[in-house]
Symmetry: none
Subunit: 196 residues, 4 copies
DNA sequence: TATGAATGAGGGTTCATTCAT
DNA sequence: CATGAATGAACCCTCATTCAT
């Protein structure tokens, strides 16, 4: 039955890829199940064999894409082994922001829909869980209670500010904004975690 | 005629209040014009005499509610005249967060829909424009280019983190979170504006 | 009370002129009473003081405009006193067609809505009644029973063919069509009225 | 599956028949999609599976009905093989007019909505295309440039005059009108095509 | 006479979901 | 598993008409 299972997985994946493209192009509410099915080359009814509804699929997509972003950033920062803790943190965030600036539709999609809850659910207990990663970089015990708060604040600050800055260049442009953001992030870390 | 104009103002206000309640209860996309009109006790067509569509009304509501929040916070901070700059900033934010915690539906509504653009449009050129207010408190020239960036970051940080913290108590509870937030805000201010 | 009556007539006339412009621009069904009233600078309710509804006004307008066309044509043909009967008939039709080609919106408006009934009602018993006019030109008694039929056929033929020819140049262009039309008209006259 | 396709054809046909009845009874603009669907015993949405909108349906109906008329007339004229060209032309037109007089609602519907453009689109390239038919009858090459003009004029003359004559008996009754019309048609043919 | 705010029936259209095939 | 025709509730919005002022 390998073939059938393959076929099943193929259809599901094609539905996911297709719907992601459509969500980016037209927004979620303006993308219909018909659109997705037609684009994926399956019948409308088939959609319901794999997903409960549009929003079931949406959450899975967001988690998947957030994962990819972080994976990319971590892979890149991996090569900067000689630099200090601060530089590593900034390198990771810098990579993510650059990716988002290159792919503004992805930024729009993620930002409008990402919540801390989905984010944690998607990453925790994986090798991408940001808490232990930051713990390692900042040389702090992973169960330090302030660590999670700091990570939470940094992620929210970055994600909340990135949206307007990248998409609207308001109140300042992306490049003008970066130094202030990075200085602020480091200030938060130093203030709350006391790492030099 | 005074009577007619009164009536018009009343209708508009009733429509706004009604729709705010409905937006909170059911979410914007699930609230229909029919709902709003019926609840407000006017005919469907009457809605269109006052608003272009649902989203016109929505933007006006957000602006209105954000204004109220800030007005409240400023009024309260007014009585703390003896305290220093840092204390005043925190007092204002503290008041806003307390208001939001008391009225979680308002928090949900504002957070889901507030954007820096709408925010600035609603407040700029009014006595509530946050830039000159912060300039006054922090004793910085209102046209200092870094000021707007800092205000932007603080507002985004507060609004982005408040959502999860107040509504989900995740990753920590509101009360546990406050000190970290305030320390971070002050760290940002000191780092970027260099005020003691 | 002359002033008040003047005022009344002024408003009515302004409504007629305005609505004619709007009918030409947007078509009758897409022109609303609101449009007309706004454009004429009166309140919506005022419209109903002068007209029963849109279609009441429409019929009056058509009659009025058809009258103008014919008046223009007759006035022009008046100067061609030396020519024969055939030439006079053609001259009149030629003038009307030229007017319509210059004012295609008028053509559209009249053609879509003109009926023989409205036409006769508008013109009969006036100095523009086509029956006695043609009787004079063709030197036939005005009560010749075949005269009315011939006039009817000619008017319908001209008005029905003009529409497509002028607006769509289909099946041939206006200039290519004219000779055939005029030869046909004369053929009908000669065949049915036996005038040399 | 044959069953499904049959069902589809049935539904489409039922929608067309139903809407034709309704258009006749109430006029097109006063007939709603709801009416049509309800009368046809299908859901409103089903309408949109088969037609883009009311006017898509309308055009198809007109074309269909015009086709039927002509088919009927040609079939009848077929039996008059011994008569000359003039007699054949008149026989065809006579048949069409008789059909229209029997079915005045059809006359109303067609006349109000038929345009040369729709007519040609509906018939050209079919065995009902009037140009080659007349070419055959009148013994003229089908690409004679004057032929199309003459056919155009005849069709417009017949269709424009038929309306008032049949529906209003104005300016004369149907039976009184016929001879004049036929003499005129033949006069046009002889004048413009020079066939004896 | 004149106004214009208010009405509300009704229009066209969309689309998530079902179910017989 | 897969299909896609059929559904019909629900939506937004328009606009002729009324009537209190």
């Amino acid at each position: 039955m390998g073939k059938i299972d393959e076929n099943k997985t193929q259809k599901k994946q094609r539905l996911m890829e297709t719907s992601f493209q459509l969500f980016l192009e037209k927004g979620i509410s303006r993308t219909t199940i018909s659109d997705i099915a037609a684009q994926a080359g399956v019948a409308k009814g088939t959609f319901y064999l794999y997903f409960k509804d549009k929003y079931d699929l949406q959450e899975k997509l967001i988690a998947h894409k957030a994962k990819q972003l972080i994976q990319h950033a971590l892979a890149n920062s991996f090569y900067e082994t000689r630099t200090g803790a601060d530089e590593k943190v900034i390198a990771i965030i810098d990579d993510i922001l650059d990716e988002l600036q290159k792919d503004k539709k992805l930024l729009k999609f993620i930002n409008k829909n990402l919540s801390w809850g989905i984010f944690r659910r998607a990453l925790s207990r994986s090798e991408l869980d940001p808490i232990p990663i930051f713990a390692g970089i900042l040389d702090v015990p992973a169960d330090d209670p302030s660590l999670e708060v700091v990570v939470y604040m940094i992620i929210e600050l970055v994600s909340a500010t990135a949206h307007n800055i990248i998409l609207e260049s308001d109140p300042v442009t992306f490049n003008d904004f970066k130094p202030w953001l990075y200085r602020s992030i480091l200030a938060i870390i130093h203030e709350c975690l006391g790492t030099a």
